[in-house]
């Protein structure tokens, strides 16, 4: 497609050239077309290379003949042919096996030849990139918005001063509002970096204040870039950023290293170097008169070296006081690479304004991260909160129910290839599977252990290891994929800093749905009423015709079923392995305990606290998630010391001291 440009495109490039030429004498238009200029550079065009292409381009630009842009486009796209017999260049159209040559200046068909009679010019990718950059000013006015956008991308990647004028001229004629805005932004960036007129430049820099985009920040950072400097006195005329004080801003060791690298002082001798030097001067089992076996202390080695120094066999080395003297005799400073102090001052101001906005956005991003982690913890823990909180049963196999849910999702995807449909099937199916497993476990095991809570913990742990190994035997040890549908795989992006993946949004929504659903079940339905009655006084509830067995069974099933759904959700963004449940179980327990047992709101509070806390700690030390988890658990241990009943505590006699 690109090799045969439309007429309109041609027209646009010509127009662009025209605009470029406005500043030039009108005489240029009266010249003899493009071919003669091309012939001036015949060899360079026919065999283009990185080293020669710049020369050709500047020549073409200087000549400024009509059709230059068209030629550059075709040259770049391998649409230019050279005829070996006379060296002339042509465009060509393919007609079957033959080629129809077209004159570059007139656009008329000249001849039909076989492809062996002409040679196609094939610039390599490096050359093509250079040509493309030269084309940018033309492309800025191209009628196709996609091409204009591509040109803007090119400028954003590698801008320079020459693009300021074409860019500012193209803004007036720009019809697309989005592109216009982008052009204006880009112009500001270019102006801030390269404009020769200081007032424009300062205004542009001011305009960048508070702009959090990566481009704007990198421009400002470039403008305020500093290089370290050292000398006997501060250089005059340099744009000094600041003077470093040895001892506070810079250590003496660092300072001396700078002196050494600036060739202002002899290098400090390392212990290894000294040892090697000493080893070269062993005479009769001694160095400088010190016997070898005594050379196992620094002091003895220093003595030996001094002896060699005194004898003149080794060069003197920088002693400590010499280091101090050398450092004291020099000034250490940082100097801006940008020479104009007004520019750097404006850029520093703009940067500090930006960092404020940046801080706000980063906080927002942190809050979103925390929120999504909290919803994961909430989903993982809420089932546990029901069984542990409402029934007082510790279910160590809760994590394995999460795993069962995730594997259910995986199995469904094996049979239903459409990810959206399989997800819709997997969610309720996971609930059904884990609900069944939960009810079975309650009937077979937990029912017999209601009076022995610590033993419930151990029995369910037994089930947990059995289930985990069973999953390993069935599905293998490697992670299984649970693929999210396309509409879940993107991300919501607010700007360069704040973005959140759709899966996490979905998990957040799922958590909200569960919160609402559970509150509804517990507060508004008959089942919820009976559950609460059994929780508070099983004996009394039983005497009022509520069957505690049935309620316990249903409650346990409900808690397990929710774990299954949580498993599908977690499986979508984490890996499905037989151990995935174990990774969540301790956190889930802590969520429940921290939040306060027996209360949905408590679990929400616990999940939020733990989620935000973990993200908060990670923010202080982003490279180390393990450390964040460690400190978070320590915090929780301390927290429970002060609020043993959790955030949302039941008060009074009901708490059952």
């Amino acid at each position: 497609m690109r090799s045969i440009p439309s007429l309109a495109r041609l027209a646009a490039t010509v127009l662009a050239l025209g605009i470029l030429s406005v500043l030039r004498p009108v005489v240029a238009l009266a010249q003899d077309g493009l071919q003669p200029i091309l012939q001036e550079y015949q060899a360079e065009i026919a065999k283009p290379s990185r080293s020669t292409v710049e020369k050709v381009l500047s020549g073409l630009m200087a000549a400024d003949r009509p059709g230059t842009a068209e030629f550059l486009l075709r040259w770049q796209d391998r649409g230019v042919y050279a005829r070996p017999t006379d060296g002339l260049f042509f465009y060509a159209e393919e007609i079957g096996d033959a080629l129809r040559l077209i004159d570059i200046d007139s656009g008329a068909a000249v001849a039909e030849v076989s492809s062996r009679e002409v040679s196609q010019i094939r610039p390599n990718s490096g050359v093509r990139a250079v040509i493309a950059a030269a084309l940018v000013p033309f492309e800025l006015n191209a009628p196709d918005p996609a091409r204009r956008e591509a040109a803007l991308d090119a400028i954003a990647r590698s801008g320079d001063a020459s693009q300021i004028d074409p860019l500012s001229q193209s803004i007036e004629t720009e019809t697309d509002p989005a592109l216009k805005q982008r052009k204006e932004r880009l112009l500001t960036l270019l102006t801030a970096q390269f404009a020769s007129a200081l007032p424009y430049r300062l205004a542009a820099i001011e305009g960048l204040a508070g702009d959090t985009s990566i481009e704007a920040r990198s421009v400002l950072n470039q403008l305020t870039a500093r290089v370290p400097g050292v000398g006997t006195a501060l250089p005059t005329g340099a744009n000094i950023a600041n003077v470093l004080e040895v001892g506070t801003d810079i250590s003496e060791v660092e300072a001396y290293d700078r002196l050494v690298s600036a060739n202002l002082a002899p290098p400090r001798q390392s212990a290894t170097d000294r040892r090697d030097v000493l080893a070269q001067h062993i005479v009769d089992g001694a160095v400088g008169g010190v016997p070898l076996h005594l050379l196992n202390t620094d002091a003895a080695r220093a003595r030996a070296y001094e002896a060699l120094e005194a004898a003149g066999t080794v060069p003197p080395r920088a002693a400590e006081d010499e280091v101090a003297r050398a450092v004291a005799a020099h000034v250490f400073y940082e100097v801006y690479t940008e020479p104009n102090p007004e520019v750097t001052a404006a850029a520093e101001d703009a940067l500090s304004a930006t960092s404020h906005t940046l801080g706000l956005y980063q906080t927002l991003d942190l809050v979103l991260d925390g929120l999504s982690l909290a919803s994961i913890f909430f989903l993982a823990a809420i089932g546990l909160a029901i069984t542990f909180g409402v029934m007082g049963v510790i279910n160590m196999a809760h994590g394995e129910f999460i795993m069962m849910g995730a594997y259910t999702g995986y199995v469904v995807q094996l049979f239903v290839p459409d990810y959206t449909v399989s997800l819709i099937i997997a969610l309720p199916l996971a609930f059904v599977v884990t609900f069944g497993a939960g009810v079975a476990m309650e009937r077979l095991v937990i029912r017999h252990l209601y009076t022995r809570p610590l033993e419930t913990l151990l029995a369910t742990f037994g089930i947990s290891i059995a289930l985990q190994q069973l999953a390993k035997n069935i599905f293998g040890t490697q992670a299984r994929p649970l693929t999210a549908p396309d509409w879940l795989s993107g991300a919501l992006t607010l700007n360069d800093i704040v973005s959140i993946s759709n899966i996490r949004v979905a998990i957040f929504v799922l958590a909200l749905i569960f919160l609402a659903l559970l509150l509804f079940i517990l507060k508004r339905t008959r089942l919820g009423l009976e559950v609460r009655a059994v929780t508070q006084n099983p004996g009394m509830a039983a005497s009022m015709g509520i069957d505690p067995d049935r309620i316990n069974m249903l409650t346990f099933g409900l808690g397990s079923g929710i774990a299954g759904i949580a498993g599908v959700a977690i499986g979508l963004y984490a890996q499905v392995t037989s151990e995935m449940g174990a990774n969540y179980i301790v956190q889930s327990f802590m969520t429940v305990v921290v939040g306060g047992v027996g209360n949905v709101w408590g679990t929400l509070a616990g999940a939020s606290l733990i989620g935000f806390l973990q993200k908060g700690i990670e923010w202080f030390n982003p490279s180390n998630t393990l450390a964040a988890q460690t400190y978070m658990i320590l915090f929780i241990i301390l927290f429970i010391q002060f609020r043993p009943k959790g955030i949302v505590a039941l008060k009074g006699r009901a708490a059952g001291d």
Binding site: K651, G652, R653, A654, D657
Partner: protein, 246 residues
Amino acid sequence: MTTLLEVSGVSVTFDGFRAINNLSIQVAEPELRAVIGPNGAGKTTFMDIVTGKTRPDEGRVIWGEKNVSLLGLSESQIARAGIGRKFQKPTVFEAQTVRENLAMALKARRGPFDVLLYRRSKTATARIAELAEEIGLSDALARRAGELSHGQKQWLEIGMLLAQDPRLLLVDEPAAGMTPAEREHTTDILKRAAETRAVVVIEHDMEFIRRLGCKVTVLHEGSVLAEGSLDHVTQNQQVIDVYLGR
């Protein structure tokens, strides 16, 4: 007769329910005192406050000659200060023998290292035998407490209370589940104990209280309704109203 325990202006609230309302009671040493009142009058909560199980919202609980406030002390410190308690429901250590139960309660140093290095002495063995005799469990010393009947558990708990040798005994419904003969014996034990120390008894059974023949405090809705001899309080119109219902 000096004041041993002074409870003054104590209030406590559970979830908005005022279980104890500006309660003031003084107990002297030696003294035998019965506390009566309808269900929910705050009798057991009063004991909870004195023994440190429940912290009051306001008020003072002062103990002994040195006027120590009990509010800052833990349950075990209060127990070591000389307050012993028998619970409404007998709570003995069912997995252990009667002898072990009594030995644990026997007055001795309570620190872990003291207990670790504790060695049975002749006097201690004799004291346990004596107590077992008194509570009628001499033959059951080697039996597990869990195997005892309800009444025997009550006796054992009274025995443990006596073994602590406290200055103040708080006894919650000591005669529940006992035969008339056993009740009589219990009355004797309590009366004898009250000769040298303070004893506070919570009881519903008026006959039992009449046999104790002591000063009676009537609690109602968390505060003292009447105080005096049993005859005096039973003639009090308010007490009659509370017990018979208006």
